[in-house]
Point group: none
């Protein structure tokens, strides 16, 4: 049924939604199929994330105040504990106080969620965003 | 062209992706069209770029197939064009085919959105997620 | 003989050499033992590198002209082939033409040397430097 | 203090490092003092900072023990102070104890040398290698 390469199938959609979608697609310079594929991948990733199952790749991005006493060491300790999930961490020195830190991650959704919670729980960590994608 | 009510159109998709999508659809108890609609609405919300102004920091994370002819060079060309926004790009070699690329960005929201659109529009780029944070 | 923790031993050295060493050590704000340890680790690393044996960690840093036709793709192909050695690659967009690319590596000396040679052999790669350290 | 001829002094070193060093020394057919002298001469040459001027790009790669009390914070403080030179820092969590950190740098040779000295002087920093390239 799926064969190799590319499959083609029909979709029905409220005309209003399709119109809005087509406008966006045109603005972005895509074609419909490309955009539907992007949307589908995001949807699958969110599904995995919500169900807490499967393997994803992506990034965790945090901003923190490096002057918070002991924070640097705690963040590094946590990352070493979860180093199996982290390919590398990129650190950008934003200004006197603020650090942007981006962890490249790959692993079980559940483990990545725990890592994210651990980081976010630390005093001095101002924001955390995750970007999860399908392999 | 869109009329009232429901429109029907054809979509093409890598068979591999369709298979995984259908499995999820079955588990959720939806049909394909229903799920594509949900995915589309999410997509519209996620990439309905805000009209906000101001400077943000954060990351753009993409996954792409580096075997797509000319893709590497196009992605680098785009990034060089927008290098004023990009502190550095981290590249993780996931497997034979797939690359995870994370851009550490800082700049005007609008400019970062344009950069994201440019990257996402390229054939071979499978997903893009942005994580922008306020300084 | 070695016990746990720290060992202490005597060293003899031409007075002239020691004087030059002490001056440098003072300028750098070290003490002799710290500096001897740094020197010893570098020496061990170089020994492994020359003998082409053992495991090292470190970085390969290259500058290349991303406008060279096909170079981006070749560099990525090579890195994917050797992805077992590369934790991540950081890419900095220097100017219109020039890219700084830094590979974080870990693995057998021999394999890292082969990877370095492969990268350096490509037309458009202007310089390559490696920084190898002991784990 | 140095007199003519040969001086003798005591050195302390982690026993683990001394063990590996002695094994190498034995295989090379040297004695410890001879090997320390060679290591010292290399060290003097490698870090005999040039008086060159001009702008270079490249990387500083260090390995350190993140368990050293206060080290993480000191390293981040130093990097924030010199953030004008550093595009980004990549951190790889090697094992329980050891961190590989790679700074992508661009700036005046002299300033980069000062940054390197500051980092290398910290207790817990085991090695530092720089790879500077001309644009």
């Amino acid at each position: 049924m799926y064969g190799k390469g590319v499959s083609r199938f029909g979709v029905s959609m409220p005309s209003e939604l399709l119109k809005e979608f087509d406008e966006m697609v045109a603005r972005m310079g895509y074609d419909r199929s490309k955009a539907i594929q992007l949307a589908t991948r995001n949807f699958l990733t969110e599904y995995k994330w919500t169900r807490e199952e499967g393997v994803v790749v992506g990034s965790l991005t945090i901003i923190y105040n490096h002057e918070t006493r002991g924070l640097e060491e705690t963040l590094t300790d946590i990352q070493h504990e979860y180093r199996g999930l982290i390919s590398s961490t990129t650190h950008v020195h934003l200004d006197e106080r603020n650090c942007l830190e981006i962890l490249a991650v790959k692993g079980e959704v559940k483990s990545i969620q725990i890592l994210a919670k651990r980081l976010m729980a630390e005093r001095g960590v101002k924001q955390l965003k995750f970007a999860t994608l399908m392999l």
